[in-house]
């Protein structure tokens, strides 16, 4: 909806511009009625072109979202009409031990996985920022996993890699570690998910690379003259200079981590008919939401969970924005 509102005046402005060149044609006074008609027609065309998108947005995004907001306050099992129950879904959630467990698993995943991924991304970006032979190849090679990493097929491969007697299990046995496959282990499965997300560091890496390119060389040269070492240059020049990029990546990856679903669902699925890993070991928030909605047919409760997640992610985002005053340095130039 927002787009359509901003679009309408833009078209109008365009037509006015064109209308205000009567010099070239015969001397005619401006005809406001005709102009208006024309403007309307152009915006009609605009709307027409956007109609597939608008229809998709209204039918597939906005409509279901509003519906789910309503369902969040109802008892709805898909078959019987929804029954208004006020805040009962929320109080049930807080009292539900399995729900609290899913919150813990998700927070753990976000707090451990996101920093590791960003450290990996920044580390590799620093290496790749230097000029060396085969640079383009390395960049492409490190970026590739993030293109395919979110896919279902990779999650299936991941499950295979980390299952019992597969490559990870056999490799760790060579080193005398016999803990079995990770994807069937309630304590280890979450690590395999973290490994999966860290492996997809390519996307933030590319953004870091772009940020590193922007850091003026002369700052390093000056620091070197002053005798600053590598670490010092990184800490006092690189990090502050790329802090806006870092902020962007932290924000994006944090939000992304909260929404983890497909990889957890696939790597954890299939074990004992439990969608959330052995003993709920990989039961992230969205997994439990899925179980409640689609396995237990409790769409009202699932909708309430979805909205709570949205609010929680919004709050985390707000806190991150608020915190940037303390650590993000925007260049005050021009």
């Amino acid at each position: 909806m927002g787009t359509t509102v901003t679009h309408a005046p833009a078209t109008e402005g365009l037509s006015k511009d064109k209308g205000s060149e009567p010099r070239h044609g015969p001397v005619t006074p401006p005809r406001p009625a005709a102009l208006k008609r024309r403007g309307r027609r152009e915006s009609l065309a605009g709307f027409l072109f956007m109609s597939p998108w608008i229809a998709g947005f209204l039918l597939l995004t906005a409509g279901p979202m509003i519906a789910s907001l309503y369902f969040a306050f109802t008892d709805y099992n898909l078959f019987d009409p929804p029954k208004w129950i006020g805040l009962d879904n929320f109080s049930e959630m807080f009292a539900d031990e399995r729900w609290r467990h899913s919150v813990r698993v998700t927070l753990w995943y976000v707090v451990v996985g996101t920093p590791l991924k960003l450290i990996a991304a920044l580390g590799v970006a620093l290496l790749l920022a230097q000029k060396r032979r085969g640079q383009a190849f390395y960049r492409a090679a490190f970026y590739a996993p993030s293109l395919i990493g979110a896919s279902v097929s990779i999650a299936i491969v991941w499950k295979a890699i980390f299952s019992d007697d597969a490559i990870v299990d056999r490799t760790q046995k060579i080193f005398g570690v016999d803990v079995g496959g990770w994807s069937g282990d309630p304590d280890m499965i979450i690590y395999s998910l973290v490994a999966l997300t860290v492996w997809q560091f390519g996307a933030p890496m590319v953004i870091f690379l772009a940020g590193l390119k922007q850091v003026p060389r002369e700052l390093y040269e000056a620091a070197e003259v002053d005798g600053a070492g590598t670490w010092r240059r990184f800490w006092n020049i690189t990090l502050p200079m790329i802090s806006p990029v870092l902020f962007f990546n932290v924000l994006l990856e944090t939000i992304h981590s909260f929404q983890i679903f497909s990889s957890a669902y696939i790597v954890g699925g299939g074990a004992g008919g439990n969608a959330c890993g052995p003993a709920d070991g990989s039961m992230v928030y969205t997994c439990y939401l899925y179980v409640q909605g689609f396995e237990n047919s409790r769409m009202g409760l699932a909708s309430a969970m979805a909205w709570l997640l949205l609010v929680a992610v919004a709050l985390v985002t707000a806190v991150l924005f608020w915190s940037q005053k303390r650590w993000v340095h925007y260049e005050e130039s021009a």
């Binding site: 024309r38 027609r41 069937g184 309630p186 003993a279």
Partner: protein, 429 residues
Amino acid sequence: MQQDRNVERRTILKAAGASLAVAGLGATATACGGGSGTGDGTVTIRYAWWGAEDRAERIKKTIALFEKKYPKIKVKTDFQPYLDFWKKFNTQASGGNPPDVFQNAIGFLRKYDAKNVLLDLGAQVEAGNLSMDGFRAGLEKFGEIDGKLLGVPVGSNSMALVIDKPVYTKAGVTPEQGWTWDDYDAAMKKIRDKTGRAGDTGPYNVMYLYDLYLRQNGKAFFTEGGLGFTEADLKTWWAKAEKAVEEGLYANQKKVAQIKPKSAVAAELAGGEFTWDNFTVRYTSEGKSEYGLAPIPTTDGKKTGQYLGSLMLSASKRTQHPKEVAQFIDFMVHEPEVAKIMGYDRGVPATQAQYDAFKPTDPVNKAIAEYEESLVEAGVLEPITPHPNGADICEAAFLRIGEEVGLGKRSVDDAVKQFFTESKTALGA
């Protein structure tokens, strides 16, 4: 400017044309989706089931037979693994578009009856499109709930103790009909001590086994409307299990979880496990050993609490073609040729005609037939436990929470509390 306007008009026309084309495509798609009846009287019915590729192959052949006999009925099929099947079915049924006929099981009858999804086939029986005669062991009553015929059994199974035969032999254990839980516990110790393997995968989170144990003691897992046992009952059951896991009598649950989807028996982690008797077929293809069926231990030396379970075919209330669906079910349960194709894939055939038509020649399927015959002879079979609306969710919770006890992730008290909380929600909904 004139030209400008033309371009604009043309563009709009094009856009409109494109929209029309899209709308047209949509209309075609709708026509295809809804086209279950055509001019010449041919109707198409949709049939969905859960299972794997080998079952699909067999079912495809039986459908070819059916379509040959009823050339005016076309059958469109769809299948998924068990859990995915119910998710898809749930979504389709709630959207008012369930398959016309589908595979079903006792645990889901009340659930979908309460949701108004299942067709009462009684009227079709009266109309002569479906015969409920000729079923074995009272199976014709299995799909009847509150006087409504909601499912027609295609085969029967019973719970059994599936054992790794050489392991039991090596330990010197020979289970016999009427052996007791004390005998069973002693056998577990013998197997552990003599073979170094756990005696059993762990019976404590198998809902259908706990049901038998409760029935031996005058209770049952479910009543018509709720759970048929107390928190104290379950505490005793799980406390015994916790100890047995610690002592290595039951398999290490972590290992059991890790080797999934392979079964612990086939993976040589345990000497046996309680499951449905037709699972020996699966274990034989999975494992290297020889697998057999042993009787269920008893409390009093006689009563096993066993009953026949069964896969069924149900019809959806919204089907446009109840008559054709009834004819389809009738064909699938009575036609002897169908039994020859299906074998014991969905259990021992439910009707006498089909039972007689397929006589297994391989030792595994032969043993299944012998086991079910021995149950009939021993006279231990009783009426089935009712499964209230929500039973499927209780079973999943029992499996999961019991596993957590086995893993040491939960204390027994905590686990029992959690199970009762979840069950109350599921059964109350």
